[in-house]
């Protein structure tokens, strides 16, 4: 079976073939490996990679949006997706594509503290465009790319739900 795994900004082709009760022949981008793997707990996978006998634990669980997967390895975390399931970093990117335009969406329920841009403004990539307060913190939401502000759908003080588009770019 072959899977397309999107992790770390690159899609890797991973093919797997069972070679024994818990042994698998795995080819990653043409590189063959023999891996001894078992599930460990609800989200853990324990892998021992042949040759060096390196033992590594990877924890895979749905992220808070339920749409993405988070992989944890040795205390570090990375988003990963299997096959077509969009490797979108859930709502955290603060951006969603919508017919050519892009929106800065609220990653969580909160209150709009400040709106930093207005319609027609030119913004750079990662420029802060709006500040939303949640969990006692002010969070600056940034433009995912450079562009021009098409519309701002909220004003300071407004309560917003998670997923609401706040600033539209074009």
């Amino acid at each position: 079976m072959t899977f397309e795994i999107d992790v770390g900004g690159r899609v890797r082709a991973v093919s797997i073939e069972r070679a024994g009760p818990r042994r698998f022949r795995i080819v990653v981008d043409g590189q063959p490996r023999v891996v001894d793997a078992v599930r460990a707990g609800e989200f853990g996978l324990s892998l021992i990679v042949d040759g060096a006998a390196a033992s590594r634990d990877v924890h895979l669980a749905p992220d808070s949006s339920g749409a993405g997967l988070l992989a944890a390895i040795d205390g570090r975390v990375v988003a990963v997706s299997v096959n077509d399931r969009q490797a979108r970093r859930s709502a955290h990117e603060g951006a969603a594509v919508a017919d050519g335009a892009q929106a800065v969406v609220a990653p969580m329920a909160g209150r709009v503290v400040r709106v930093l841009v207005g319609p027609g403004d030119e913004v750079g990539a990662r420029q802060a465009v709006i500040v939303v307060e949640a969990m006692k913190m002010e969070n600056e939401l940034r433009a995912p790319r450079a562009g021009r502000v098409k519309d701002v759908t909220v004003t300071a003080g407004a309560s917003v739900e998670a997923g609401r588009a706040l600033v539209l770019l074009e």
Partner: protein, 503 residues
């Protein structure tokens, strides 16, 4: 005694543990979204006090006092945050015949005003950061404020008198920014604290934040503790604390302790409190403010002094005299570091990351203390501070404590939400942090403009994650069919099916 804990999360769990060890029944309160929270489950009793918004639950003093009455509690522990430094709430407790486990309402009110607190420090002969001694009148003219600012010198800070946690505070680099800063600070302070008063304070260039924990009983005993170093801050929020400080030697420690004790005595302070100082580059310290409550970072003090601060808070509140060897409180035994684990995504500018905690397996073993506030199955809500646990490492030396913290961070597993663990792993490797060379501006400078992810995975790691994700899907597809569908399902069938999934 029966104690109601007017708080939630890890600090409520911390107080419940202290109660249980002392044989005191504990009462939790909870908002709508906290019904399944850990503090509710661990307390002996639990009462609902309102909707999820803090203003309608954990900040509702009347609802909390009513809950205490209904539960038969005779004391209230406020934790930190929420109503912990609210003099009116402490007074309402007193009027309701409840013991407030903390200082008197008078002491809270006095030290809660930053300008009044500065006055207390000055009277006690303790240096303060140069600045105005009284808040500006609301009718103060721009000219008047600008004149005072010139006297103090730039850069300076506009600070809310009732402020805290960086709210209502503005940095002013030069005269041009002054009136704007005063206006926004006033408006923020008004919204947050209901008090628009502000004052000016010189901004020290690269100070360290050093604080002294105190315990004061009703008989006049004041015990100062070895200092805590809290200079690792992100946007004025502490994220790592340790004790002792690499910048404090025994002589300075005694001077800090003496200054802190003098302020507390002058304020007629009782119970646990903390005096915060700024230590400037010349090694001189300046009184900053007093926190009239238990601090988030109290565990590092507990670990290097072996004194249980929460249990002492309770003992002092029930009228006991402090029975602590002052030398023990002031002599650090080893080194302790605390990392505040937040439900935030460090790789997205520390954006809050609320949501369902699918699994959590805290670090443990030698020298590790986990003060956790959530368990698997709990949904971290959007309504409150996002801290889910405090991970504390103790070792004989600072170097070993850092190594131990790194080991523990690597071991700590949280599934379902993002946390600041990868950030702390990164921080523990920074040369300046490891050498103890830092001040309150260090972390913001380090993070400023940084774009790389804290979760640094090399090509080998990424390949491993790719293999694991593919294997996960492979095993899922080759697992036996799902459990029998239908409205009546048996636990045993489900269990058998889950086990079959275990590969």
């Amino acid at each position: 005694m029966k104690i109601l804990i007017a708080n939630r999360g890890e600090i409520a769990v911390r107080v419940i543990r202290a109660c249980r060890e002392m044989g005191i029944p504990s009462v939790a309160v909870f908002s709508d979204c906290d019904r399944g929270a850990r503090h509710v489950r661990e307390a002996d009793q639990a009462l609902h006090i309102g909707p999820s918004e803090a203003a309608r639950s954990y900040l509702r003093g009347d609802a909390i006092i009513d809950a205490a009455r209904r539960a038969g509690a005779d004391a209230i522990h406020p934790g930190y945050g929420f109503l912990a430094e609210n003099a009116a709430f402490a007074r309402a407790c007193r009027q309701a015949g409840l013991t407030f486990i903390g200082p008197s309402p008078e002491a809270i009110a006095l030290m809660g005003s930053k300008t009044a607190a500065r006055g207390v420090a000055l009277r006690a002969g303790v240096p303060v950061v140069p600045g105005t001694e009284r808040p500006f009148d609301v009718r103060a003219t721009e000219e008047e404020i600008a004149r005072t600012a010139r006297e103090i010198g730039y850069p300076l800070l506009v600070k809310a008198v009732a402020g805290g946690g960086g709210k209502g505070m503005r940095v002013v680099e030069d005269p041009a920014g002054l009136s704007d800063a005063v206006r926004t600070a006033r408006s923020e302070a008004g919204a947050a604290f209901g008090d628009t008063s502000v004052y000016l304070e010189r901004r020290l260039a690269r100070p360290r934040h050093i604080e002294v924990q105190l315990l004061c009983d009703g008989m006049g005993t004041v015990i100062p503790f070895v200092e805590r170093e809290c200079s690792i801050q992100r946007r004025h929020q502490k994220v790592v604390e340790e004790s002792p400080s690499t910048a404090v030697d025994p002589v300075l420690r005694r001077r800090l302790a003496g200054a802190a004790s003098a302020v507390a005595r002058d304020a007629g302070y009782t119970n646990a409190g903390t005096i915060e100082f700024l230590l400037d580059e010349q090694g001189a310290f300046h009184f900053l403010e007093m926190n009239t409550r238990l601090q988030v970072e109290h565990p590092v003090t507990e670990l290097v002094t072996s004194i249980d601060l929460v249990q002492w808070q309770i003992r002092i509140a029930r009228g006991e005299a402090i029975d602590i060897d002052p030398a023990r409180a002031l002599t650090p035994h080893g080194h302790a570091i605390e990392c505040r684990i937040y439900a935030e995504d460090p790789d997205q500018g520390f954006m809050p990351s609320p949501g369902l905690v699918r699994a959590i397996r805290p670090a443990a073993g030698p020298g590790i203390r986990d003060d956790g506030g959530v368990s698997a199955g709990y949904t971290v809500p959007v309504y409150y501070d996002s801290m889910i646990a405090k991970l504390v490492a103790w070792a004989a030396s600072r170097e070993e404590a850092i190594a131990r913290m790194a080991r523990a961070l690597r071991e700590y597993q949280v599934s379902g939400i993002r946390t600041t663990i990868p950030f702390f792993l990164w921080l523990m490797q920074q040369p300046d942090y490891r050498e103890g060379r830092y001040d309150t501006t260090y972390l913001d400078r380090l993070l400023d403009g940084r774009r790389a992810a804290f979760s640094k995975l090399d090509e080998g790691d990424l390949e491993l994650v790719a293999m694991a994700a593919a294997l996960d899907e492979f095993l899922r597809r080759s697992a036996p069919e799902g459990p029998p569908a239908g409205s009546v399902r048996s636990l045993w069938q489900e269990a058998a099916w889950r086990e079959a999934l275990r590969a």
